[in-house]
Symmetry: D3
Subunit: 238 residues, 6 copies
Amino acid sequence: MRPSGRAPEQTRDIRITRNYTKHAEGSVLIEFGDTKLICTASVENNVPRFLKGAGKGWITAEYGMLPRSTGSRMGREAARGKQGGRTVEIQRLIGRSLRAAVDLNKLGEHTITIDCDVIQADGGTRTAAITGGCVALVDALNHLVKTGRLKASPLVQMVGAISVGVFDGTPVADLDYAEDSTAETDMNVIMTDRGGFIEIQGTAEGAPFDREELDSMLALAKQSIEHLFDLQKAALEG
Amino acid sequence: MRPSGRAPEQTRDIRITRNYTKHAEGSVLIEFGDTKLICTASVENNVPRFLKGAGKGWITAEYGMLPRSTGSRMGREAARGKQGGRTVEIQRLIGRSLRAAVDLNKLGEHTITIDCDVIQADGGTRTAAITGGCVALVDALNHLVKTGRLKASPLVQMVGAISVGVFDGTPVADLDYAEDSTAETDMNVIMTDRGGFIEIQGTAEGAPFDREELDSMLALAKQSIEHLFDLQKAALEG
Amino acid sequence: MRPSGRAPEQTRDIRITRNYTKHAEGSVLIEFGDTKLICTASVENNVPRFLKGAGKGWITAEYGMLPRSTGSRMGREAARGKQGGRTVEIQRLIGRSLRAAVDLNKLGEHTITIDCDVIQADGGTRTAAITGGCVALVDALNHLVKTGRLKASPLVQMVGAISVGVFDGTPVADLDYAEDSTAETDMNVIMTDRGGFIEIQGTAEGAPFDREELDSMLALAKQSIEHLFDLQKAALEG
Amino acid sequence: MRPSGRAPEQTRDIRITRNYTKHAEGSVLIEFGDTKLICTASVENNVPRFLKGAGKGWITAEYGMLPRSTGSRMGREAARGKQGGRTVEIQRLIGRSLRAAVDLNKLGEHTITIDCDVIQADGGTRTAAITGGCVALVDALNHLVKTGRLKASPLVQMVGAISVGVFDGTPVADLDYAEDSTAETDMNVIMTDRGGFIEIQGTAEGAPFDREELDSMLALAKQSIEHLFDLQKAALEG
Amino acid sequence: MRPSGRAPEQTRDIRITRNYTKHAEGSVLIEFGDTKLICTASVENNVPRFLKGAGKGWITAEYGMLPRSTGSRMGREAARGKQGGRTVEIQRLIGRSLRAAVDLNKLGEHTITIDCDVIQADGGTRTAAITGGCVALVDALNHLVKTGRLKASPLVQMVGAISVGVFDGTPVADLDYAEDSTAETDMNVIMTDRGGFIEIQGTAEGAPFDREELDSMLALAKQSIEHLFDLQKAALEG
Amino acid sequence: MRPSGRAPEQTRDIRITRNYTKHAEGSVLIEFGDTKLICTASVENNVPRFLKGAGKGWITAEYGMLPRSTGSRMGREAARGKQGGRTVEIQRLIGRSLRAAVDLNKLGEHTITIDCDVIQADGGTRTAAITGGCVALVDALNHLVKTGRLKASPLVQMVGAISVGVFDGTPVADLDYAEDSTAETDMNVIMTDRGGFIEIQGTAEGAPFDREELDSMLALAKQSIEHLFDLQKAALEG
């Protein structure tokens, strides 16, 4: 029995709101139940030093949590003078995942930065960031086309992400904080809407997991992410 | 003629939404037109080292801007490894101002941290932070009473803040970004609902200002802040 | 009754010594009673990145205190690895104030850095820094003329600064440390020798201040700063 | 055809040398072909703050590369003033993996730090670090028993790790640098000698990977890690 | 022929002014010609962690240069966020040297920090810092006796320092900047007034130096430092 | 009687192993008894900013210790975010010493970085670093000749270094940790194979040392360093 009363394969209510703030080329509020993030996509007309002159673009991501997005206040990373290890790990994952959505060779010498800021946390912030960030990214790519800087969007495929895990012996999808903090295994799965895997990160928090549990979690993830692709599509058409 | 078409003494539409996020003891979304901040108040059961054993409490503030709250993306302070001078200056002002609202001797050994995070910027973020932060602070004080940690709220008075300036030769209230970036003089006025001044910070951006302009700005500020006290009161009673 | 026995409108003995050290283009020792600072003005033949190619110059300031300039030793900011919030706030104020003295468009692509280092502190260091820094700045501007790098000094006006406050219920000028640490209100006023205000920063340390107190403080400030202009002029002619 | 001429399931020559340096409680040189790391395990008689008084121990890991362990010199992280994102990500993975080897409740209030320093890099440093670090950890646990600080070793199971990937369309085990830098998919698999998974991290570097490739990689990983357990056992008995 | 016209064994005019600032327990202005430093000695009633409970005291030193103490402005270390290598090297030397002046076992659990801040630099700042710092230290030790915190001064011996070098083929004493920047060899010698060496640091800047040059430099150093002891003694008796 | 049973003038067994790792242009394992360091020399085709366009090269050094190279684990400098004072002092010494081996004017616009990383520490790491670093440097210079980037090696002379000291009243050579931690005086001597001094750093740890002790230590150093030159030569010819 899940704390939220959800069925094992049931995700939380997921909402995607585009144009949430006015300045960014893409700006999305994504909600996975009580988990809420603002994902913005910002376009700059240059590329990092290691790509100078290569004639291609770059996509990178940054992640942050408002100090009181969580149950007890976390110290502000800007005040402490460095990003923590968890933050660095998450923003590298978001960046890698979203680069898979785009043909960087067709992006021109632009950098798109996806900022994912957690307004309220209740588990699954990194998968929400990837899912919402992909929508903001699409808006930014379309902005480049509309403003004449690119002839066609270099979007290759949509990318979505969900967490799955083994909670109280049962594989479940889209863990909330109550589940995440006690789950035996936590796995983040990132897929494309063509059915391939971009990244799989499964971690045994307590006991190791076996092959059967892995297969169950992968099946749940596939099913949930297909639902995310429907929601992304609806939002982009809305 | 103001770019927004407002009359000189007219503030933007100001909205105060309490309980905006669920974890903090006080959580407010404050909007001054397109300027939007989340102000949370977090209570901790200890005090900074310099107050240990003094039997009194402390109120402090931190300020941040989401990287794409502005027209062009700003580098994330957490990634750059330090808070900029403007950030430090603003959060010190917010902290000083809100400490004036409370009798610290009656707060017990608690620290309340007011986090003011700018979601979208269009001028006047520091005055919005103080005005919204005061409402979040009141909620946190009341939370201390409700949970039995204090017998009565140590609130002494409400605090509100507005920016005034001289734009195109005319004193105006509540400058937005279009005005702020070209105003000759920019002054932030922080007052209490008993009519006293907490802080005045007036800066000539271009030509110096004279005594007559100063008096006009102070009059506009007084009038605008009285309006803010009405809005704070309505929000707290709502 | 002031601790020093001074009359309310009476400043401390103020001394300005030019050419205090030999390397800088301008070098001033300024003393407000026991408050002593070295203010140097250093000219560099370039401008910050945000001004590259704009054909104008820049003036900036840095502020520091020797670790034992105060009653108890403060940690050295260089050793702690960052400048404190108070330092940042003060040096930004000094920079803004001194930029008002000069027509940056006529400064050429030069940067002048005003370093204000407190040798001994007894209250009022930021106003002493502005007052002494302006003299060092004038010397550096004249140096640019003498060495043929500018045809005429771009000096527009002199800038002077004084702290005023409400001590024990009475408005007083030029607070020393004994007054500053217990004053109800502390206000720094920066003016030009043409009579305009550059900056006003008034802070209620305890009880809020009212309009009448504000007016008294402004009157004291005006009178004191006129005295500073006489001293600056005498030093520059000396 | 692999650049090294190895068969797809063939690992490099792997060597484990215990007691490589003299000061640490456990000290191992691990070589996966040309990849060489020193893994030391250091025991301290205290625990991190978040475990104080909990009556259990902690295991953590740090990772570093000598500046010229790689083909071109990397800047020294100590000189740059921070550990890079990749370093942080790797050392968190090593720590999580090795904590799975031990019953922390039976470790007493000790912290064991596993330092993994890359002397020479040729791909697969993180999996070599986990495999070699586990041997150093066992030595440190036995040291605690020998010196009477623990009655029995809290070792629960051995942990081993291997990288697998899809190179030129073929799933292969134990990628070296020549393969790693061009592989389509790179997956690190960490398992216990009881057959469970501790962590799976699979990343599509180019094209997404499908379920069939995933299954092939997992089979290769299982086979390779069983070989690692034989080598660990032989080293510990040697 | 030395640029200054001095004889090889001739030091610059050296002046020691005690009680230069009012807050510190010891405060000295030391001048070696145009090289000018403020050396303060600050007493704290505690010791560093590594000495807690050892029943002895500690002496440490910090060194800084005002940004425009030199011919061209140096970046402020506090603003750059770290002390440079040269600064660290110098302050460690000053600390080691001055600890030799005192019996730390008789200092009680006090820490004395010697701050040496260069107001104007013209070569030889580190040796001036040691020589002047020793006088400030003596004043601070006497202060501990006068205020009843120690029964007797734990001073063991005076410490003085001079730079010597080989300039244009000739061994010379007390190099100024013009000499220092072109000398073939630069050696700092720190001695006690009982005739022993505390530290010798000789560096060949260009060609190596031979034994004969070493002996000449040591003889010059001994002679010069004896002169410093006379000046220290006169200042302390003055 | 020395703890190791060595005669006063007897060094430890010293071994120099070239080509210890495969990536660097020069790579040496140097062992002074139980003190073991990896010294690599890395060539880059550019020079630091202060040498741009000067047509000459640069040699610099960095030093580090593996966290458990010592008896108790030291915090990793990369994790603490800065290099300690001792590290900075040592790497500056290594750099200065090795620059004396080379005619920088004939090095072309190349920078050679000598990385000295301590694998196991037992006293004398800085002198071992210089001695081993010089061999790695020679290999890197020869590499520049072999690859056609220089016509001839700009090597001027070999550089070697040894620590000498006064232990239990007797001057001894090549102090190990047991001696170093209790010696009255510790002196590092760096010489060239032409017999000149590059650097002398002698420090009285306890009682000051006198001229006679200094002369004895210098004689021991000369004799030991001549032995080092034999070993360097043998290694380079081997």
